[in-house]
Symmetry: D2
């Protein structure tokens, strides 16, 4: 099961998102840093292509700004201007800083090895695929389409969703 | 329904292919000319990526060398060397020349406006999508994966296939 | 004649640079912002190629961080991390902020219309070429090589240089 | 000194070209095969950029179709259509076939290891630089501009030119 997000600030969304509340939808979660050259050159443009290609589907794209170096240089203020300049329209959350570590909470929870990383989460909340670096578009397009073609879980699972939202997914405990 | 192929010579396949005999499988049919710059720069590399990405699936890739200009310059001899040098491994047929036209038979049958063109054919033999020029990889990957996710047609349709293979698909008549 | 630089902070150089003190050398002065997508995708990589190609020459490359928008987002702290992550080794100065304008001092002095911009300055201190946006590498390589092939100005001009370095180039006056 | 060309057929020029007759000008001589993927993807587009960048100079660009494999597939008929489709406007010669070898005459004379190869020839007829594969544009632009900045040889050398044109450059002897 995909761990829950811990986010200190959201951009491009009127209200916070959670893995639990999105159960039933496919999620493309991508982790980046605004000063990571590979993210800027390859991952962010790919996310924009995903935005366009799957705009008619119920795919939920979520960006996670997982700062694990140069923390002072990549503040939310800089992130906000970055998102504006790079025309990223899908929701982005600032991964919650961990006082005891350079690595923020959600990044550690997912075990990302660095940026860019991404996770494709199925309608049932399970992790279908993880990538460190960039996958080629053809493979990724096929992977997302295949996930979208999977039927939405039935009501039984939907109950679990509300359970999860009620606190079962209290992931800080497991970390 | 996807029209049948008329091919004067095949490469990269031990025996001729036909749309009829392939019913039940998804087909990516791409039309090119070896001296078409857009084909060489964009379409052929994309076909190679399709070969790699969908190598584990039952997708059938078919190339069609649809020469409609510079006929003497793009002979089967030159095509054979081209396929070798460009490392194209999937089957390629030389579209049958039409004595009454610059446009070869299959190209006219499909109504291709030029090269590169492509057609995605579903398991039931219907045309799912046509493109003149190159689609982006993300969209195409999604499109092929969605077609592959469609169940194979049932036996009733399979009967039609053998009928067609027996000669009903005499396409010059229908053109 | 190329206007003088007004810089509040330097990176990648042990001491401040000035147009005046560099008379006799060819200068490639490039203006950028770290959140300018065209700068990051095209201009900075081109500067790195210039660094490599002309490393054996006496070309002086100077970057100018000309922030004219999102000022809080592109602080020197963020710039320092940016230069580290993007492996830019040549000197970069932070263009002096102008309290009365969004446009910093040197940028206005040169009349740059935006970022990325660049100026090629000849051995005699004159502006040989200005560009808003990116020139293609072939043209730029030819342009720089042609400037480098021009003989160093004679002693008469060298005297002016030391005068200028002594304070005559008090450019805020001339603006 | 750059060896003379042996060409069986010229395209894009009203009359044959020779190294001897071009003494006094800088020559960019590029060797390619129309079915060589690296030539088509990288070398030919670079030659087109050279055509544009140096159109105002006296640089002479010469292409040499040096077929050393798939001879039947790369006939002059196919080359002519190739040049038309790829919009190559500068002169191209078909390197003279050698009955005793797969390698044509001029290619062997220059010692090219394969395609694409190129040679930059100075105003005095000497080889300034040889490359197997593609150089980056910035370096090549600088290299050509530097060669162009070299003064035209004086009359004494011009005499040698006419000598050479009279037959002294009988290169098959030296091969």
């Amino acid at each position: 099961m995909a761990p829950e997000l811990s986010v200190s600030q959201w951009f491009n969304t009127p209200e916070p998102l959670s893995i639990a509340a999105l159960k039933g939808r496919v999620i493309f979660l991508h982790s980046f840093q605004l000063l990571c050259p590979g993210c800027v050159a390859h991952a962010i443009p790919q996310v924009q292509r995903i935005e366009r290609t799957f705009s008619g589907s119920d795919l939920q794209i979520i960006g996670l700004h997982t700062v694990f170096e140069h923390h002072a240089a990549m503040s939310p203020t800089t992130l906000e201007a970055f998102l504006f300049e790079y025309r990223l329209n899908s929701p982005v959350g600032v991964d919650l800083a961990d006082e005891a570590s350079h690595v923020p909470v959600t990044m550690r929870r997912y075990g990302f090895r660095g940026t860019p990383s991404s996770v494709l989460i199925g309608r049932d909340g399970t992790i279908l695929h993880e990538a460190f670096g960039i996958e080629d578009d053809l493979t990724l397009g096929a992977r997302i389409a295949t996930a979208l073609a999977t039927p939405v879980p039935d009501a039984g699972q939907a109950v679990e969703v509300s359970d999860c939202a009620a606190g079962v997914c209290a992931l800080p405990v497991s970390i």
